[in-house]
């Protein structure tokens, strides 16, 4: 029986092998089925291995050193509780995506641009989680970015994708350089790049603060922390849908892993101001992300933006964990940390599910613009059902999993008065309010997404003639939906499974949930607060069925189909339905005017004029216009100015040389 880490590395090797194989045979017929089924198998093995490891005893980590990478260091890989959890997330997503790809991949226009990079991408994410020295970590990190970039560029001819790829690559490299600086700081001039050495070393507060900021830049830009999120809504939708699912559902989590690994594990005990920064950024990200999503009409971009919101939620939880940890309240830190990890897990589930749904809609109708869809619930019953589950889950509604993690986060927040620092005492309730706002907006946003896409009447011929997708895609979605429900009604099991990580990282853990009555969970004590997803679900089902029973027992069964009532107004054309823009109108009025300088321009033709009236919505992306455009402009201007040097005459060039010489001589004359 080989050790767990070796098993994982073997799986990675297998994936890389598959990538090479895919290059060789990518243009053949069977390639798609072969590659995806193979990746499915490998990811499944890795998933099982990681799960057994986490449920077994992850107390003692296993390591592996390969003679590659930095010569005098070698490449270190390590499997501990934390990495095993993220391995589960990665490989679960990978397996689901592969299964989905088995069906979806056959609609791919350019398989030879997807197949080689898909396994490589999976391998890259696995490696990042396993890496145990700075060099390997960064190498795998950037490898992951590179492969995902290649996948984004798969449909490079579609307008905008090239730009998306460019922005993505630049932001990714920005993040990597930030991480590079952070590790340089941690490793010190001697260059001890091994994580073990970094962990052992003690770091001054100055270093700690700098590293935290650099990690927020580095990992944050990959995770999509506002204002570093700009690449995300461009890149994620550009990729094929199962890849979008991986990028949104899994790769952002790998970024979170990087943040946790460095800030919680390597950096040693945190300082409380750190938590203030993280909480602030997290809450801003949550609200801004979902507001962006609310304004969006493109289904996949909407999902990408909602990813940003979830990242914000996770960072808020991590910030709370930092705050408690900094004050030595291990139990509460463990609570917040567990909430964060739980949300990581949940989001990877339902975001993958939703992107699969978007992919299914895309294959069925060829449209990503919600205003061209509608009424799909009649044409694609199964897809619409699972997507509904996904929407309920992501909207944090009981009894599904999204609610549990958000509930845990709120529970952690309710403990914040125990914190000694006034800044935190006052900040946390505000953050909580913003989180609640975000949660409500998420519900609104997904009512809109689901309502416009699947309900109502079809707005286009494509939507009218859509057909249900294939079996593989459906099974992938159903599996994820089931997992969403299970994690929602049996949260105790998940929390207990996560406890080794909190013990490992924070040195504390939440109370054991397994011996709570009726499988309910109580974060601190039952007297304070408790929740039981299973019973809630049972109650709802029972009371709902009771109602149904009584009604069909005693009330009339009569049912007549007729035209919609609509107060007598019969909307002749489906276009007259509420579109996504009109659904967002109230929230646009309330929040958008502030966040996006949103304006509605109505062009109402005078009486007698038969032109249709037009409504134009003006939206601005403040972050892009205030932050990125100025930077780009500055670079453009300065390069324009410097570019004159390309067109000088030889005499001028000689003058440059002359000036340099004289300056250096002067320096010498003055200096020495």
């Amino acid at each position: 029986m080989m050790s767990a880490v070796v098993l994982q590395m073997t799986c990675v090797a297998g994936l890389l092998g598959l990538a090479v194989l895919a290059i060789a045979m990518s243009r053949t017929e069977i390639a798609t089925s072969l590659i995806y089924s193979a990746t499915l198998a490998v990811s499944a093995i890795a998933l099982i291995g990681a799960t057994r490891w986490l449920l077994g005893n992850p107390a003692n980590a296993t390591t592996l050193t390969l003679p590659i990478g930095l010569p005098w260091l070698g490449a270190h890989f390590r499997l501990d509780a934390l990495s095993s959890f993220f391995l589960i997330v990665v490989n679960l997503g990978g397996a689901a995506a592969s299964l989905f790809g088995l069906g979806y991949g056959h609609h791919e226009s350019a398989p030879h641009r997807v197949l080689p990079f898909f396994p490589a991408f999976l391998a890259g994410m696995n490696l990042v989680v396993l890496a145990d020295d700075a060099f390997s970590f960064l190498l795998c990190w950037e490898f992951m970015s590179l492969t995902s970039w290649a996948l984004v560029m798969a449909h490079h001819r579609e307008p905008g994708n090239a730009r998306a790829g460019f922005v993505y690559l630049v932001m990714a490299s920005f993040g990597t350089l930030a991480l590079l600086l952070a590790f340089g700081l941690l490793a010190g001039p001697a260059g001890d790049y091994g994580f073990a050495a970094i962990r052992a070393a003690s770091h001054t507060p100055y270093v700690a603060a700098l590293v935290l900021i650099l990690m927020l830049l580095g990992a944050g830009s990959k995770a999509g922390l506002v204002p570093l999120h700009v690449w995300l809504p461009l890149a994620h939708p550009a990729a094929p849908s199962h890849v979008s699912a991986l990028m949104s559902g899994v790769m952002t989590k790998v970024a979170i892993y990087g943040f946790i690994r460095v800030v919680f594990d390597l950096l040693g005990p945190p300082i409380w101001p750190a938590s203030v920064i993280v909480l602030f950024l997290g809450s801003i990200t949550a609200v801004m992300g979902i507001l962006y999503a609310m304004m969006e009409t493109d289904l996949k971009r909407l999902l990408a933006y909602s990813t940003i919101e979830n990242i914000g939620v996770i960072f808020v939880a991590l910030g709370l964990a930092l705050a408690f940890q900094a004050n030595g309240q291990q139990l509460l830190a463990a609570l917040a940390f567990t909430a964060a990890l739980f949300h990581v897990f949940n989001h990877s589930l339902f975001k993958s599910l939703l992107f699969f749904g978007a992919g299914a809609v895309l294959t069925a109708t060829g449209a990503r613009d919600m205003d061209k869809l509608g009424g799909l619930i009649h044409r694609m019953p199964f897809t619409s059902f699972v997507v509904l589950v996904g929407c309920v889950a992501i909207s944090a509604l009981p009894p599904f999993n999204g609610f549990v993690s958000e509930w845990l986060i709120f529970q952690a927040m309710l403990q914040s008065p125990d914190l000694p620092q006034w800044a935190l005492k006052i900040m946390v309730p505000a953050v909580g309010a913003m989180l609640a706002l975000a949660a409500a907006l998420v519900a609104a946003c997904f009512v809109k997404a689901y309502g416009v896409t699947f309900l109502g009447r079809p707005r286009s011929l494509a939507a009218e003639t859509a057909i249900e997708v294939d079996r593989f895609s459906l099974s992938a979605m159903f599996i994820l939906a089931t997992l969403c429900l299970l994690a929602g009604i049996l949260p105790g099991l998940v929390i207990d499974a996560l406890s080794p990580i909190t013990i490992d990282i924070l040195g504390g853990r939440m109370p054991i949930q397994a011996n709570e009555a009726w499988l309910s969970i109580a974060p601190i004590a039952e007297g304070r607060s408790s929740y039981n997803g299973l019973l809630v679900m049972v109650f709802i089902t029972v009371s709902a069925s009771l109602a149904v029973y009584f009604i069909h027992r005693f009330a009339s069964h009569a049912l007549r189909r007729g035209p919609a009532w609509g107060c007598g107004f019969s909307d002749s054309v489906p276009a007259a339905q509420y579109s996504s823009a009109s659904f967002a109108q109230p929230i646009r009025r309330v929040f958008g005017t502030l966040a996006f300088y949103a304006r509605d321009h109505v062009d109402m033709p005078p009486p007698g004029d038969i032109r249709p009236a037009r409504l134009r919505i003006e939206l601005h992306d403040p972050i892009w216009e205030r932050l990125y455009e100025p930077i780009a402009g500055a670079i453009g201007r300065s390069s324009e100015r410097l570019n004159r040097l390309q067109f000088l005459t030889i005499r001028r060039y000689l003058s440059l040389v002359f000036a340099t010489l004289v300056t250096l001589l002067l320096v010498l004359a003055i200096w020495s």
């Binding site: 909580g432 019973l535 009339s556 009569a558 009532w565 009109s582 659904f583 109230p586």
Partner: protein
């Protein structure tokens, strides 16, 4: 043993009282404007009539449209069953704390909003979009109110809160008062009462909840109406159990205490209903885009209350 009895009675009690409360409020409002008004039992009659009628379903209504009434009703009922009314120590109070109860109401709203979108008329769209906006504004305020209570009672478990506030002397807290006002405003918004929404209107572009359920008829409509009644009752009993847990029967006290508790509960309901009616007659419905100010005020009150608590706790 007493727990299960309490739980059972509670579940039935809310079912029974909910329409009565609404009927009472309507009656009082009618009397206040010098109308005779329908009898307080009218809501029961309405429900029965609706149940007997046939359902007219729009051509392109989907299965979601048909299951929604039952889901929403169930969700609200469960929520209502978990709020201590006349006695604490319900059997299942630990299945969901206050946050979970709010979330349950949230899922009810979620499905109702979806149902509003289902038929594809613009009225449904208006209703749903405004409903979700109001929710988005109300939830932060609600959370801060929860924060406030949790700080005082050290719990979000309603029975515990009620026990705590009922038994030990908390004293008159400014912040609790603020929280009460905030909760009242949120309750108005959530139940679609004046000034946020007018439950008695149709064919007005200002309506929210009614527009959302416009396509419903027959037994489905009955379910939804019933849900609305329950929701009103729930909020009032929530206010009652948190802010005036006076005479609410504690765990293990004998049947007499239960009887007293029940009686007092009815009195509380009557008073609250009367006050609500009074308030609704006294105020005018406001424009849709005034809601942000209204609920923003609630939010501010909640935040203020929380911060004041810190101050008062800190010495």
């Amino acid at each position: 043993m007493s727990d299960i009895f309490v739980q059972g009675t509670q579940m039935l009690l809310v079912l029974l009282l909910a329409p009565l409360l609404t009927g009472f409020v309507r009656k009082v409002k009618a009397r206040l404007v010098r109308r005779q008004g329908a009898s307080v039992l009218q809501p029961y009659r309405d429900l029965l009539r609706l149940l007997r009628k046939e359902v007219v379903l729009a051509d392109n209504a989907s299965w979601l449209f048909r299951v929604t009434p039952y889901i929403t009703f169930a969700a609200i009922w469960v929520a209502a069953a978990l709020v201590p009314t006349f006695a604490t120590g319900l059997l299942f109070n630990w299945t969901a704390d206050l946050i979970a109860i709010v979330a349950l109401l949230g899922s009810a709203r979620f499905f109702l909003a979806l149902a509003g979108m289902d038929v594809g008329t613009s009225f449904g769209g208006i209703g749903s979009s405004r409903e979700v906006m109001i929710a988005a504004l109300a939830e932060p305020a609600m959370l801060l109110i929860v924060f406030c209570m949790a700080l005082v009672a050290g719990s979000t478990q309603l029975s515990t809160v009620a026990n705590f506030l009922g038994s030990s002397y908390v004293g008159l807290r400014v912040s609790l008062g603020m929280a009460l006002v905030a909760l009242f405003m949120v309750a108005l918004a959530e139940n679609g009462r004046i000034p946020v929404d007018n439950p008695a209107t149709h064919l007005e572009l200002t309506m929210v909840h009614e527009a959302m359920v416009l396509e419903y008829s027959g037994r489905h409509l009955a379910m939804i109406e019933f849900g609305a009644f329950l929701k009103l009752l729930l909020y009032i009993s929530l206010i009652a159990c948190v802010f005036l847990p006076w005479k609410i029967a504690l765990v293990g006290t004998g049947p007499l205490a239960y009887a007293v508790g029940a009686g007092v509960y009815v009195v509380k309901l009557t008073a609250a209903g009367f006050f609500l009616a009074l308030f609704e007659t006294a105020t005018a419905k406001m424009r849709v885009f005034r809601y942000p100010q209204f609920l923003g005020a609630a939010l501010m009150l909640g935040l203020l209350g929380t911060l004041l608590l810190f101050v008062s706790r800190s010495f």
